[in-house]
């Protein structure tokens, strides 16, 4: 049984880990935190592998774990701390200009609140319907719609300005 679990889990991780990392990265905007979230999600997936694999919903399970981990992450006390004014503290070492840093979409995405960002990622990156998104987030479809609308307004503005800027 252990062999079956390990084999299936290893195969899944090899094929889907990068996708999960990217989704987590879009959610939290930080590669280190995204890696933490993915590791947590995969560890939980391993424990629940028999149940998740039988239901043929491994992706859905991991997606929910990632979302919940992101929710937990945003609720942690140190995440509620106000950032210091001195940006020299805890700043990443320069590693060149990352593509996202020059992307207005990325900037706009980081400006969204956590809830709106989750809605956007689930609906437009993962491609879920309103109902699926509502089920994953544990909110009503109306909430998903309203948050999607508000988030898209901000993103469209950013994308339009980015497009105009790109065309200039």
């Amino acid at each position: 049984m252990g062999g079956t679990r390990d084999d299936g889990f290893t195969a899944y991780v090899a094929g889907r880990r990068s996708h999960l990392f990217r989704a987590a990265y879009l959610l939290c905007g930080d590669p280190h935190r995204a890696e933490d979230i993915v590791q947590t999600a995969l560890a939980k997936l391993y424990v629940a592998w028999p149940r998740a694999s039988r239901a043929d919903s491994v992706d859905a399970y991991v997606r929910r774990v990632i979302i919940n981990s992101h929710v937990d992450e945003t609720r942690r006390p140190w995440r509620r701390e106000s950032p210091t004014e001195d940006d020299r503290l805890d700043r990443a070492a320069p590693s060149g200009v990352a593509p996202e840093d020059s992307d207005a979409l990325w900037a706009a995405l980081r400006e969204l609140g956590p809830k709106q960002r989750r809605v956007v990622v689930l609906r437009h990156y993962w491609g879920l319907s309103v109902e699926e998104t509502a089920a994953d987030l544990g909110v009503s479809p109306g909430t998903v719609k309203s948050q999607t609308s508000a988030a898209l307004d901000k993103l469209r503005t950013a994308l339009m300005s980015d497009t105009r800027g790109g065309r200039r």
Binding site: F9, T10, S18, E35, Q39, V47, D103, H124, L159
Partner: protein, 499 residues
Amino acid sequence: MTDPADRFLQERLHALARDVRVPVVPADADLRRGRRRLFRMRVAMVGATTGTLAVVLGITGLTAGDPKATELPVTQPPTTLPATPISSPSDAKSDDATPDGEHQAKGGDLRVGDQPDTDLTGQGTDPAGRGGSPNGGGVTGAPSSAAPGTTHGGADTGHYQPSNGTPASDPTETPASTVTATSAPTGTPTATPTAEPTGTPTSTPTVPPTGTTKVQVHRVLRYYNEVLAEQLDPDRDHLQPYDRAIDTKETTRRDGVLFALGASYRWEAGGSRAGLGITVASGWDQVDWDCGASDTDWQCHVADAGGVAPAEVATHDGVRQVAVEHSDGQVVVVTADRSIRRVDDELVTAASDDRLILPGDAPVAPPVLDVETFAPAGVAALVRTGESFDQSSVDRSPQVRGTWAVAGAARGTLSWAARPVYAGARWECLRSYRTCEDVVVDESGTTVHLAAVRARAGGGWVIQYDGPSYAVRVYASDRTFPKRRAYAFVTQPGWQPVR
């Protein structure tokens, strides 16, 4: 997603995600993390299951069946009867009377195990015995015939004027009876008492407290209830059967030995509910009985129970209490709210019922020392010509306390007391003592304990002799007080009566 703007957003999101640099993490690393998490969860589940099982089994083991007398008495709530010593104002008064930190363990506490603590806190400031008295409202049980006459300026022992009693022998004489001290009073109250019920009980007591080491407290309390019903309410019009879930019980235990057992039963009359309490104790030192004390507002008198036993009746705080000393030394106290319309004689007769005994191998209390003998004997032995003793308090533990003066000049506190050793009154060298030593006081090798009391605990010294029956001690806050007087007093054989 048919909106071109939405499709554009979706494409840009995927493009953005594609540009993210994904760290290279081997699948084996995630596999190891998953295994560790699974292992931790399983260990936690096993631990939680084991812990829960242990708790459940422990609780089940503790609560299975009838609780025994060996249960911790501290788990028992105090009786709700206002007649009980716990709620009597005499307790507070006793506390007030020892502002120097003493604490007299009232009999109402009915916890012999508390006595060492009492010693610890009390002897430091008054090592003569107040602090160590196992029952602050101590009772000799042997009513005396006169107020103290040889104490100089001493406080009256109270309005209590008993007419008969069983005073101990003269302190200067050796007690006549010196045998059968350990004869078991646990006796067999089985057949004889039940053979002649005085009324028409609704149910005959069927569970007498026989002499066994395994005591089922609730069964005994139910038995007491049935005995009281026979005596006071044969038709069960008022006295309700014992219900362990409603009625309160009290146990006094020390080292697994039951010293006192009591309960408060419901007495219902005309829609009102009163309390009828009973306490069966190994001796007077285990009950709260303030009759005879100098600082009490109890109204006491001696009742004649038809010659069965000397009985005392006390009225205080809205209750009547009847105390009867049985032939084996055990004391039965029946407490009745004033609303219970039973005359004193009925209560005395009920308390005198021979079936009301402690179950199991009950400890045997020594015969009481009469404070009316103990107090003047102390004055005679400790106070000489040119000196005086102004008695400030006395109770029937027995215990005497006052001020010693030389040529009219007060020299401090002088007190003497005796406490039965069977309840744990033996000598302990306390932290409030600066030094402790044993002193051989005569050629036969009699040894007494001598301790210098720290100044913050009152100063002076305390001397105690642990006899076979009583621990007799003298305390003088003036360290110049001649110790030899105390040696002679505490070792008098008259203070060691045996039953």
